[in-house]
Each structure stands twice: as structure tokens, then as C-alpha cells.
Amino acid sequence: MDGAESRASLVGFDREHSRRDFLKTAGWVTAALSAAGFGGVALASRADAQEAAYTTYQGLGDAAILSVAYQLELLEGNFYAAGVDSGLFTDDFSVSQLAAIRDHEFAHADAIAGVLSSLGAAIPEPNLVFPPDVTADAATFLTYAATLEPVGIGAYQGAAPALVDKNILASAISIHNAECQHWNAIKILQGIVPPNNVAFEEPLPLQTVLEAGAPFGITA
């Protein structure tokens, strides 16, 4: 089946069909989440989020999705650079981890810029804004980090099924994994035991990503 065609038809599906697909999806997500010990109340909304997320990226096109991803990576790279440069972290473990994450985010940004160029798309130049207290103290910085990482994770995970080019998908899903690894590292720095405390990563719909990014200067 042609990937682009199947996605286009998904955008146009009728309500009843959509409902059926939703129930199908909801079934296994529910089974998975109950196995993982999640409460019953949250099940419907979680299942809903799992399916609804990627549909919000469908039809945007790969370049538009990557344009948002690029801005998120720049934001994260600059954020971690500020953390490393702040002097708030002095032990080797913290400094080496934050510096590695900084380098990863900039490497992601560079890679995505390369793809945007190859697609003939403009490379965004966002005016990034950071909250004044971002480097107030180590705990505050890590709290911001622990907020930013799931946004990046949710953005890539939500967008992945909407990407048309399979090479771009392969890259995006690898970067998504790196972001999940970062989140785990941040939880380790926060002293959370055990740091591996989710059984399934959560996707985010486009609107949620844009709302989360807007205060930092990220635009669609």
C-alpha cells in the first residue's frame, strides 16, 4: 500500500469508520495500560491521545513537521548550553551528562537543517526566549528539563506516523529515542528511583506541542 495515499484517506475517513478504528486501538491500549497498572479513569483519555495525536500532524507535510522539530531542538540545545554554562552543576557526572545532551540536541538540529535544505524548505530562525528563572538553581533547571523532554518526545512520537518519507521517519524515530534517553538521564539527575518509571511513552497532538513551545518563541 502506498504510504501517502493511505494517510490521505485516513484524513478523510468518515465518522463511523473512525469510531471503529478508535475502538480497535483503544482496546489494546487499554489492555496495555491496565497491565502497566494505570488507573481506570485515565484510560479513555490516554487511548484517545494515542490515536488522536498523529492525526493532528497529517496533511502538514514533512517539511512543516521538521520545521517545528528543528525549533524544538534549537531550544533544547540552547537550554542545555545555558545549564552547562551556569556553573550550577559542578560534579563530573552532571556536567558530562548535560554537555552530552546539549551536543545531541545541536546534532539533531544540524541533521534536521540538512534535511530541510534537501527538501528546499526554509530553515526557521526563531527568537528563542527563556524564562528568567531557568538557571535560578539546579533543581529548577532540572524541572524545566523534565518538562521539555516529554514535549520533544511527544512531538516526535505524535508526528512519526504522519511523516511521508520513510528515510525521514527512520531519522525521526531515532531522534525520538534519544529524547527518551535524555528524559531518563534527567530523572537520574533528579534522584528519581527508579528512573525508568513509564511503561509507554506518550504522544502529544500538534496543538499541545505548539502551546508548550509558544512561550519559548517557537512558531508553527
Binding site: G27, W28, Q97, C180, N184, I188
Partner: protein, 229 residues
């Protein structure tokens, strides 16, 4: 195209590993071979054939069964303690949840989930916390690589969404295990590597009692017995 060699112990070598270190070293190659270089537009790990979403789902289910059994036995061994025990208990719970999720997904997609295979672990695997964490350190990147390699072959966006959700958790596991193994920094890979299906098969074959595997996916044969992955 890059080709990554994995040294898989022979059946004899597996039954009587020269040393545990050699065994782990051989397996570890699977996890680190593809790490170098940019992932972008470079290595089409997914250009490896494959039989559709149901086959991919069953392939993933087999890996999750392996991980779930490994961590279940690790918890039951009684040799893991402290922060490591808390992490390993969650690892067990997550892998069991992944087994349930994939089983449900395959069933509801009209397929038949594979039965849980019989797994074999090297002697002394469960004799110490260090040996358990060492083997975990080789398993987790293979799991990540399998999902990353398979993702672009998946047709259904719902199945892809599920695979991404699980793959990310396996990525978290890599970092948790790295940290317990004293790797600094624990999150150290900008582009986690995709693995070819035959690379994954080669890495897990010894645990399924198979000393060698065919070069591509599909029916694996050993000693007159075949397993459809």
C-alpha cells in the same frame, strides 16, 4: 551499504562459554556496531524485506517475551538489591506490559500471536547482580535497534504509534542500565542505531537454542525445528 558483523556463539560455545566476558562481548557488538555517524538519510536499515505488520508484531513480541523472562528471572534470583532491584522490577513490569500490548494488537489486527518460546540463558547469568546488569546492557540496545529498524516498514499508523511508544521506553531502559553499570554519562548516543532484522535475529538466536541463523528474516531453522518469527 554498511554491513555489521555480529559474532554469535556457536551452539557449543553457548553451552560452554569460554568466559562470560567473551560471551557478553560477542553479543555487545550487536548493540554498538551501527552507532557511528549521522542517522539521517544514511542507512536504510528498513530495506530488509519483511512480511507486513503482523510479522513485525510477532517479531517484536518474541523479543519482549525474551526480555520479560530475563527480568522475571533476574527479580526472582534474589541477587539484585537496592536501587538496581527497583529498576529491574520496573523493567520486568514494562516488558510484561509490552507483551500484553503486542499480544492484544496482533489479535485485534486479525493475527495470531506467537507462543512464548523456550529461552536459554548462559550459566551463571543469574548468579550475581553484575552479570544480570551486564547482559541487560546488551539486550536493551538490541531491543531499541529492532524497533528502530522495523518502524519504517510498518504500514499501519496505529501500529507505528504503538511501536514508537514502546521503542522509547526501551531507550529509557538503556540509560537506566547504563547508569547502574557505571557508564558516564549514561545517555550518550545522539542517534540510537537501527538494526537489520538479521542482526537482531543473530543476537537473540543463542537465547532461543539456535546457534546460527539465516541471513534474512523469515523461517529460522535449527536441528530440524523451525520457528516463524
Amino acid at each position: 551499504m554498511e554491513k555489521h558483523m555480529i559474532n554469535v556463539p556457536s551452539v557449543e560455545g553457548f553451552a560452554r562459554p569460554r568466559t562470560r566476558r567473551d560471551f557478553f562481548k560477542a553479543l555487545a557488538v550487536a548493540g554498538v556496531g551501527a552507532a557511528a555517524g549521522s542517522a539521517v538519510l544514511s542507512r536504510p536499515a528498513f530495506a530488509q524485506g519483511g512480511g507486513g505488520d503482523l510479522d513485525i508484531g510477532n517479531f517484536a513480541l518474541t523479543l519482549e517475551y525474551l526480555e520479560a523472562e530475563f527480568y522475571t528471572r533476574a527479580v526472582d534470583s534474589g541477587v539484585v538489591s537496592g536501587d538496581a532491584l527497583a529498576a529491574v522490577i520496573n523493567l520486568r513490569e514494562h516488558e510484561l506490559a509490552h507483551v500484553d500490548a503486542l499480544t492484544g494488537l496482533i489479535t485485534q489486527s486479525g493475527g495470531t500471536p506467537v507462543a512464548k518460546p523456550t529461552f536459554t540463558f548462559p550459566p551463571d547469568t543469574f548468579s550475581s547482580q553484575a552479570s544480570i546488569l551486564s547482559l541487560a546492557g546488551t539486550f536493551e540496545p538490541v531491543g531499541v535497534g529492532a524497533y528502530l529498524g522495523a518502524a519504517p516498514m510498518i504500514q499501519s499508523p496505529d501500529v507505528l504509534a504503538a511501536a514508537g511508544s514502546i521503542a522509547g521506553v526501551e531507550g529509557e531502559h538503556v540509560v537506566t542500565i547504563n547508569n547502574l553499570n557505571g557508564v558516564v554519562p549514561p545517555a550518550n548516543t545522539p542517534f540510537p542505531a537501527a538494526l537489520m532484522m538479521d542482526e537482531v535475529l543473530a543476537a537473540v538466536a543463542p537465547f532461543m537454542g539456535m546457534g546460527s541463523m539465516p541471513s534474512t528474516g523469515g523461517v529460522a531453522q535449527s536441528s530440524g525445528r523451525s520457528i516463524r518469527l
